[in-house]
Symmetry: C2
Subunit: 543 residues, 2 copies
Amino acid sequence: MTMSRSVHPIIAPPMHPFLWGTPDEARPLGDGSRGLLSAMLGIDADSGSRPELDDVRLTDSSLSDADREALEAIVGAAAVSTDRDQRVGRARGKSYLDLLEWRSGDVVAAPDACVAPADEDQVLEVLELCAERGVAVVPFGGGTSVVGGVNPVRGEFSSVISLDLGSFRGVEDLDEVSGEVTLGAGLTGPEAEELLAEKGWSLGHFPQSFPYATIGGYAATRSSGQDSAGYGRFDEMVRALTVVTPTGIVEAGHAAPASAAGPDLREVFLGSEGAFGVITKVRVRVHRKPEVVRHEAFRFPDFASGTAGVREVAQLGAGPTVIRLSDEPETMVNLAGATESIGEMNMNPGCLCITMYEGPAGSDADVEARMARTREILEANGGESAGAAPAEAWEHGRFGAPVLRDALLDAGALCETLETATDWSNVAALHAAVGEAVTEALAPAPAFVLCHISHVYPTGASLYFTVIGAQSDDPRGQWRRTKDAASRAIIDGGGTITHHHAVGADHRPYLAEEIGEVGVAVLRGIKSAIDPAGIMNPGKLVP
Amino acid sequence: MTMSRSVHPIIAPPMHPFLWGTPDEARPLGDGSRGLLSAMLGIDADSGSRPELDDVRLTDSSLSDADREALEAIVGAAAVSTDRDQRVGRARGKSYLDLLEWRSGDVVAAPDACVAPADEDQVLEVLELCAERGVAVVPFGGGTSVVGGVNPVRGEFSSVISLDLGSFRGVEDLDEVSGEVTLGAGLTGPEAEELLAEKGWSLGHFPQSFPYATIGGYAATRSSGQDSAGYGRFDEMVRALTVVTPTGIVEAGHAAPASAAGPDLREVFLGSEGAFGVITKVRVRVHRKPEVVRHEAFRFPDFASGTAGVREVAQLGAGPTVIRLSDEPETMVNLAGATESIGEMNMNPGCLCITMYEGPAGSDADVEARMARTREILEANGGESAGAAPAEAWEHGRFGAPVLRDALLDAGALCETLETATDWSNVAALHAAVGEAVTEALAPAPAFVLCHISHVYPTGASLYFTVIGAQSDDPRGQWRRTKDAASRAIIDGGGTITHHHAVGADHRPYLAEEIGEVGVAVLRGIKSAIDPAGIMNPGKLVP
């Protein structure tokens, strides 16, 4: 290492390896939830347990001394670690199966080393070295994957490193005329919003993983935020991105907001999940920080009328920033979770629809007009205003669900989410098919299968399912069978295998059916052209 | 050929090979235009001439008898032609260089045969045969390319066929709930709109090539229509597409309106310009036929204030269906062209901005609100309403300019367009740089370099240049040098080499600079994976 190179000392990820967030974010289940678990699923929330992190066994590092020295020569000794504290924090994402594995008593496979390059040139040198020496590389941002996206799969190689993006935290080239800025891939959602807010701007991307997920992760997985109706999916916000591949650095999309210069290369690297290269910078559209905010909730008699309402809002472009519709079971369980006792439960509360409207300073009239137009459409479809409070309550708790899952797991409950998207004309059928597939796969164990629409498009919408049930004696096998049944129902029912969770290792077995043989050939063609050694995230994405 | 296979007899393209449209669409230059040509460019519009089509010499067909018989065995004898009448109509697109070649007296290279498969299976068999026998394939839709996209480049092969999409003219699977329909790639714009209008729907894609260009061509070239502010670019309308490649048929994007299942394969085939395969069907978003239409024009003191106005309209989402801004020279020349004599010319008319607003039946209030919001923003930036008439006049003549070009060429004038797009913050600089580069390259010959913004995005806009000048003794060399100077100014000035004309053969030398080495590797990787013999449109798109 020459003295002139920058060194980014590696810093452990902030989240606990098998809890969402840090341990002090933990919240116990409320009385309503405990009553529901007990009455409906037969789960005693007081009987659970949680292992100690120190008791979990990890695989030993298989990185050779020579490889370690070569990596240190590129990034500096302080930016390479084989310490347990570093490896344990990058061993798994946050899927239910990931969490079960930590709790299983099995030895957990961890990356053989964690490496934190300081800049694009160092990333390129690391990838070139790994390609030459046959070391697999898993890019690591926030570690929030729920599809096995960061798991240290070695593939055909003898070792695998977790490549940390923590040193890519810059905010560069804010163009206030065009409304664009370049963000480092390692910035978390809150870090990016805070830096932008200082200058009066906002990105407006708020997925549930927002507190920990990173800009690079959003791009690599085609993340979609809760405000997607107003600000678009993350991929729609991307003006350009910088990707370091084993064969060179590419800037995709830098020349113009729209172009006819062949295939859109941004769309090749968006959703590439570290299998083609490492996203280091993302140039995004930003908008003036919202100063005007309005909320309104609606109740629909059923999911069908609510679906028709939110569809028409999307198709007529009425303009809410957030629009969400819970089905009957989700509406019921959410209400029950907020009650003091199971006795207060309303078993037929209809379907709750949440809307929110934002605009920059001075946009009050525009915001009110969008709200009035949305209300008019929802009411015409059978919705009744329930005032601002339910929507404000939703916004207040919008990032809290993953923490509750840890408490459910402590109580011995099964808890996982899965999602898809389809045409409007297929929403009802796919909603029913997935619900039935999950219920049947878990039977005779009782389970809640809850669903909401949270991302709407003119031609279709997403469906997001939450499954809560009683764990069997083989909880991992139980969920693998259930997930497979749900995935089959999605593919056979004409939906996409994932609307915003990405492919990772978990959805990979279903991807070929969605994109076909030629689609698989395209992905393999791209990969072999720019990652000929196949070191980038083997076992993920590309079938 | 078995009797059960369908045969689509090949039909010659409707356009005259070197005129826009059919000869009866021809219009003479008006007195204002003739005066302008004479006074400003020294061109006598009465001195020109046009060659007879029968006098133009074509290359002979080099297709072997064996290859012809093999093709006939797949598609039927009536769907294969080596006749002059068929080959002449598919020999060139409609760029200025194409038109000059017809007028040059040189032998024009024509495809060796024209082949019109009846369905996807026949297309696949034709491509498999051509891959096996080494025959290049150029897909042909409307033949409106202005970048050499349909020219019969043989590449390393001994012959080249023009593959006609004329039999793909279906309208299928209209989903009135989701607002989607599947259109055959060979439908022209008017054919598609007429078939949709019968059912109360519209696509809303109106590029200048609308009367002749096809749905498949729109997708293959990332076409952008004049109503892009309201209905989006064509690529944004595409829900899914069917592509026949030499290695199989792919359906891209069919599963959902949005997905996180890896790279977006639609975006690989959109803009693929026949270099990866043949687009046979496109599933698009449609909207209710507009019944409410409003127009308003504005005058700005200069291009800078007008640019600021249309930028703010785009960034605040005010919602016009069409918004266009001409620079000072274009405003002046358009006004002069409409006058009776050169003496009436207003040499300082400012900049004309055209807006149009559409909505479905019953949307009057919404349309009026969008119009009022747009007016408010444009006026705040220095625009003054000029009433509906200039915008109505623009709409009336919106598809007429290419016909006028033929009259200009008859008169011995140089006339061509070129286009780019860039960030809003770079619009003024790029506008100046391209204008200067073109003017300098043509000097000392006088020329008009006119420009307008016709496609706006939150982060940037397109710039569309029209160049009218006096031809030199070597008009093709003159334009090649001018086009290269403009292209260098675009690339060096940070724009894209093409916003909606596509790459074809003409922009291919500049593409590598825009997408970089890794970008080129990605395109080559895709091509070699699905067109390993390299028969698809050699010499186009992929550097």
